[in-house]
Amino acid sequence: MTTQEALFQYTLRLGDTNLILGQRLSEWTGHGPFLEEDLALTNIALDITGTAKSLIEYAASIEGKGKTEDDLAYFRNDRQYFNAQMTEQPNGDYARTIVRQAIMDCFDFYFYTELAKSKDETLAGIAQKSIKEVTYHLRHTSSWVERFGDGTEESHNKAQTALNELWQYTGELFEMNEVDAVLMNEGIAVDLNLVKTKWEKHMTELLEKSTLIKPENVFMQTGSRKGIHTEHLAYILAEMQALPRMFPDAKW
């Protein structure tokens, strides 16, 4: 695998993860639990989708086949998507959305902090911009994990259920393959073991503070590094890609 091939796949993995998460979050727009929170979650969706756009645009330029960001976003099938399975999980109730988002925000916080030091200047630049946004997202979603955990019995149970159900998708976030190995040699990719240590410590503290129990001995799902997903992704793409695929010659 050449550096270029690895960089393409790596960037796509990051872009897809942001795109699918943004897509899920934006399903809440107009339907949030109250107006201020609707605006806040939409803002997070906006930031994340913006990051996805920058990353996928960069992936298209690395690939060098004259494709645009939209060609990559709208004309790949689910088996060609590399987003983490966590991001495609349905929103469920608000606790589930918040727990999923807090897990991802915490991951992104440490991940983009490392990626900001990448020798690839474009990735480092995107990471530097993203880290400012993610810092705010993490603060927001962590505060809701605390409120749910230590709020009412109902909110506590909902948050704990969400944690128990979603935890099986956390293992995948830290998987590394040949892509990572090639790029780590070049000082481009992030060492996910390092991110994992920091993420675990942070999550442990957050859950403890929130009176929630961190799931232990969970069997971890895997697959997205090979483009294998849960059943949900194909539906997300069917909805997202319908219009450009219906009119493939059109420019929007």
Partner: protein, 313 residues
């Protein structure tokens, strides 16, 4: 001071084009009229998030997805300023929302029409926000201070939205045959409902007279409607589309277009709950509010606990 003295001061402010502020005395009818108008406006912003939000997950390019998300978020933000402005008149957000959810309060009828295609997102930005701006520009100089100030910010953002809508229409109208047909279809469906946004003809407008007297409104429904048509027709021509009105004709004597009256029977029907989406819109708002109840309760319970810990320490 006797009531008539208060009234003199109030009338004096209006006469001098000065703002009325929350702590000033104001006639009860003026307060009620404002609460009705500002809260209707706020509800319209919030309900308006639904037809536009309908296309966020299906926006056909990443750029248009990001722009639409930002736009719908702006609309929610407008709702927030306006609810806050209404609260300065002595009514709570809970009461206002309750009026919306139970169907007692009205919102702009235009949002009871469905957004069926991507071109509808263009048409809503271009026509609906365009019409809204016509109404709102004059509200920047409305007599009630908090409302006027909210409108200054809202107008700035709405003009971005209108440009964004027009950009979508431009891409479609100058795109493939299918795209152009999609644009024309959207124009056909949104033209008359947009004209209705200015309200019934002046002769039949029940709330206009006081609104003009109090400088809550500064131009009549018919004046605004005429201005909208005169401004929009050249844009339709630029796009190479056709206004769906056989009677549309330039009238040199009045330096404006003659045009057909919208179907006012349809207007009345949509206002009284029989539009294509009235029930869905209200059901969606109610569902969001009811599903959010435990979230709001959790936040309150948590705040209370933390406050007790803080006080005990």
């Amino acid at each position: 001071m006797e009531i008539n003295k208060f009234e003199e001061v109030f009338e004096g402010k209006l006469a001098k084009n000065e703002m009325v502020e929350p702590k000033d005395w104001m006639p009860e009818n003026y307060r009620k009229h404002l609460i009705r108008q500002i809260s209707q406006h706020a509800h319209s912003e919030i309900i308006g998030m639904l037809p536009e939000g309908n296309w966020i997950t299906r926006a056909p390019s990443l750029r248009s997805k990001v722009v639409l998300l930002a736009k719908v978020q702006d609309e929610g933000g407008h709702g927030l300023y306006l609810y806050t402005a209404a609260e300065t008149l002595g009514i709570s957000r809970d009461e206002l929302l309750d009026n919306l959810h139970t169907g007692r309060a009205k919102y702009s009828s235009i949002f009871n029409y469905p957004t069926l295609t991507w071109a509808d997102i263009g048409a809503v930005g271009w026509l609906v926000d365009g019409a809204a701006i016509m109404n709102q520009v004059m509200l920047q100089r409305t007599s009630y201070g908090p409302y006027a100030r909210a409108m200054v910010r809202i107008c700035k953002e709405e003009s971005f939205h209108q440009r964004q809508g027009f950009e979508i229409m431009t891409r479609l109208a100058f795109g493939t045959e299918d795209q152009k047909a999609m644009a024309q279809d959207a124009l056909n469906r949104w033209w008359f409902p947009t004209m209705m946004m200015f309200g019934p003809p002046d002769a039949e407008s029940p709330n206009s007279e006081n609104a003009m007297k109090w400088r809550i409104k500064r131009e009549t429904n018919d004046q605004l409607r005429q201005r909208f048509v005169d401004q929009t027709v050249p844009q339709v021509q630029y796009l190479g589309l056709t206004v769906p009105d056989e009677n549309l004709k330039w009238n040199e004597a009045k330096k404006g277009y003659d045009f057909s009256e919208p179907n006012w029977a349809e207007f009345k029907n949509v206002i009284s709950g029989n539009g294509p989406c009235n029930k869905e819109r209200l059901a969606a708002r109610n569902k969001a509010h009811n599903d959010g109840a435990w979230v709001r309760e959790a936040a309150q319970a948590f705040a209370k606990k933390r406050n007790e810990i803080y006080v005990a320490a």
